[in-house]
Symmetry: C2
Subunit: 437 residues, 2 copies
């Protein structure tokens, strides 16, 4: 059995999952994580804002006093205790018993990623179409590609997904005889744009999907991280049927515990559990106890406010630095919450081609092509503001603006330089690796 | 979107994964976990034997002193620290640098189950054949069925997998034009039989697979839980290429942390990492730190001895009780390690049909059909001895013997009773749910 034979078996799979090799991904993140580099590339929460002494004490007791349970096997669906706490968290966003939310229909997952993967496993057959915002979460693209489904992007504007474009896409695909399985959407403080689907559009999007008999997979990791007013209620709070609601504690508590969940339509709850059991047997009893105890005994609502305040300050630092420093022709979104700003470069600049020079200037970001399945996004980049402190954000934007200024100057003198030629469509193989968010 | 439509979408999937519904599975385990029932059905380690105070203290420090790292996102492959410790654990079984084992080629997984699922995702296409011992781990059957692969069982005897039967199966499948992807084997203290592949047969099985160009997936959760002498070296210790080695800390430390691993051929290591990232993004940083710190600072080799001693005593209790109490015609294996005894009932008894009466008599086990993909195993049951203390084991066997005695008496008087008729082939839909092991 040679390496060549193994490659032969598995290349098909690797191509299906990502265009980029894992070693390229590792190389990018290894570089971005060097201390001298200001990384605006990640999607990590600012864990240092947690009361780590108290959290540590709680974690210790879960081992010493409750280890016989927490360190043992559990059930595939997740503990009832945690599922009840999850319902309290969802109730804060308006998803409560009045719209049929119940611990019975919650399935605990290994972060939001497994939630997505389970939905894909349950619903997607090769050749199916998934509708998704353009741009969308890179990790969702990986899941849909692994399922051999095709992602068709629906354009957004500053109010989120454009309902007319959604209708048009559904009609086009119906005419083409394609089987569309669901709309995947991150309606609130979206990754990567930070944009929120407006109140009025939420109803229209739901109506359109209902009329088309289309399921909605609502991914909501950021909904409780709004900076000013409350976000519009989640789609699941508006419809009892037809919406899968996915979320995670990775942004509001701790990604290192890997705890997320699905609130599923009752009819498929059992099937999700069976699929999860085949994949991981059961979620970590210890991690579940950690989250449930955190929610049950520590001031998690106050901690949400702490996160919001920190991220609001950092968003402001980023928006201010962008306004002060970016070359003319650059535009960006103004997120009302979440972790990300989405920037559009002056015409002609290629964010992917510019990466090596940005890294040389000690700043990192994720090029926009990573958030599209179809090579769009050449002139875009995602900038994270949740992890670096304000002064580092400003320094990062300063370095980035410097690199962009040089690119623009070079283009004026020599025309296209170093691959950053006229905006062109790139294949999915140019996509960057999964960001850690 | 109605429940019927959801069912329509997903029934295909559910049928693919398990014949039994999740609610039936939950019902079985809910019953088996009632305190008055002696459960010989599980596969749980005896966590109470861990030094829980010290473990708790360690877990607390990982939060309070290292939370900024342990509670954050990590990389898909798993931390280098843990992968180095895993190599120390494998070295104890003879898998070391001399046979090419390296932290570079270890991929950390969410328990052994995700390790299996990743290998299946990478290699299996619908219609492929997987060779496996008959009987084999029920959770592996679930994974292979989810991948729409067909499991062909290779018979075992008290020396493990029968090499001649393996050769014959490969030849038959080749003649039938079937594509066999790999041999899945648990060579040491197998689940569910407790049987170990003999020293001499290990080389023969490897040679046969090598000649056939067949990969070997070696699942080794129990290899370090031998009761008398050391187990024969794992297959991976004998071959540098062509063997995937899978293991877990679920039996030797704590299943509630969900940490397992794959030692992969170098050529596919990256692809496994990419597949895992699409599935779970990254394994829990906290759980990885817990296992790495346990291995790095606590006497884990001594703890292995503690487990071995407890399980040896319990195995002896079970073998003694079986010899004293079982009706004539019952036979069983004599495991040299691990967690399970495999019993064969007197002719005519049906372990699945007998379950309700056993539960009524307050004893639970897993019927043998669960460990076959083809309905074999009607007259078998798996009995666990790792979790219940010796006196409970004896009481459980006493109750079980009582139920069997009644079945035999009824059969003598009335012929077949309550479905326990003459041994018949049953469809896979009669298989019990996944055991928690």
């Amino acid at each position: 059995m040679t390496g060549t034979t193994l490659d032969d078996y598995t290349d098909r799979y690797a191509r299906r999952v990502r265009g980029m090799t894992a070693s390229e991904i590792r190389a990018l993140f290894a570089v971005a994580s060097r201390p001298e580099v200001v990384s605006l590339a990640g999607g990590a929460p600012y864990i240092a804002a947690l009361p780590l002494d108290a959290v540590g004490e709680m974690l210790g007791r879960l081992g010493s006093e409750h280890g016989v349970t927490t360190l043992q096997y559990g059930i595939g669906q997740g503990t009832l205790e945690l599922r009840e706490r999850i319902c309290e968290v969802m109730a804060l966003s308006g998803i409560d018993a009045s719209c049929g939310a119940s611990p019975e229909d919650v399935v605990v997952t290994v972060g939001g990623q497994q939630a997505l993967d389970l939905v894909a496993r349950l619903f997607l057959d090769p050749g199916d179409v998934v509708l998704a915002e353009g741009p969308t979460y890179v990790g969702a693209l990986g899941v849909f590609q692994a399922a051999q489904a095709q992602v068709v992007h629906v354009p957004m504007d500053e109010q989120g997904l454009i309902p007319e474009a959604l209708e048009a896409a559904i009609a086009d695909l119906a005419r083409a005889g394609r089987r569309v399985k669901f709309l995947y959407t991150i309606p609130t403080y979206q990754n990567p744009t930070g944009v929120t689907l407006s109140e009025e559009r939420r109803e229209r999007v739901l109506d359109i999907c209902e009329r088309a008999g289309l399921l909605v997979v609502e991914d909501d990791p950021y909904g409780q991280l709004g900076f000013e007013e409350e976000a519009p209620a989640p789609l699941r709070a508006r419809r009892r049927d037809g919406v899968f609601y996915l979320s995670t504690f990775s942004k509001t508590f701790a990604p290192g515990l890997r705890v997320g969940w699905i609130l599923a339509p009752h009819a498929v709850r059992d099937k999700l559990v069976i699929a999860s059991e085949a994949q991981i047997l059961c979620p970590s009893g210890y991690a579940q106890a950690a989250v449930a105890t955190y929610l049950g005994t520590m001031p998690w609502r106050e901690q949400l406010k702490v996160y919001r305040e920190i991220y609001r300050e950092r968003r402001d630092a980023m928006l201010g630095a962008l306004a002060d420093l970016m070359p003319a022709g650059t535009t960006w979104t103004t997120p009302g919450g979440g972790l990300f700003v989405w920037a559009t470069l002056p015409d002609g600049l290629d964010a992917k081609a510019m990466m090596p020079r940005a890294i040389a200037a000690r700043v990192a970001y994720v090029p926009g092509t990573g958030f599209y399945a179809d090579g769009t996004g050449v002139g875009n980049m995602r900038l994270n503001f949740s992890f670096p402190p304000p002064e580092r954000i400003r320094e990062g934007v300063r370095r980035l603006a410097g690199v962009m200024g040089q690119e623009i100057a070079m283009r004026k003198v020599f025309g296209a330089v170093g691959g950053s030629g006229p905006r062109r469509r790139q294949g999915a193989s140019d996509a960057p690796g999964p960001d850690l968010a």
